[in-house]
Assembly symmetry: C2
Amino acid sequence: AQLALERDYEAQRDSDTRLRVLMESTDDAVAFVSLASGRVSELNATAASILGQAAGDLVGSAFSDLFQGDGQRDVIERLTDPDRADQRGPVEMTARKTGRPVAVTPRVFRAAGERMLFCRMAEIGPAGTGSDALT
Amino acid sequence: AQLALERDYEAQRDSDTRLRVLMESTDDAVAFVSLASGRVSELNATAASILGQAAGDLVGSAFSDLFQGDGQRDVIERLTDPDRADQRGPVEMTARKTGRPVAVTPRVFRAAGERMLFCRMAEIGPAGTGSDALT
């Protein structure tokens, strides 16, 4: 049992490290949000930059607070609406801190028994200021 | 001990799942290579497409076989040369299967006591065929 524990621990550190390397290396702005708490679980520097705050301040913060509401529905509700389950494209939001438009592509998944929201984000703007314009 | 085992197992599944979601969602072509074996450990569909083969065929294959050699050094040696440790830019290679040029940005890291190579790849070509041209 001890050997299994150590092996599992090593394997976990392997996935943790690979995840961190990938998040740090990708040009994409990405974030993981816990749907149980509505809070940012982890995100990369590119995402923090788009949201206009330091990554350390963003981890643990309420994800919905980071975007302007539309006066009707909560940000997370908009992103996880089952009616948009067939739509793969991004949702246009406005980052609260910067006031700038951001295209958010959500994906809901389950990990370790918990529902999570993965978001890829891209600034929307004139050519040259954001390579992932809404298509 | 049993509870710890289950908790560690759940946590590992969490990182594994997040890693998989990120690899499937990113537009980047990415691969992890074991430096102990020289073999592809995992990669995403975008990377498989650039390399011109099915992802299932690529996992476990010798990474150096996937690129044309330069007649002098092994592909992995070129990518992990300590003399280029200060250089962050990509290395231009040619995918063996497609004959097309590919920019490979390597990053060596250690996970679970093992040295790994992370590669981000991008096709090099005229405007419109690869957004990550060598800069």
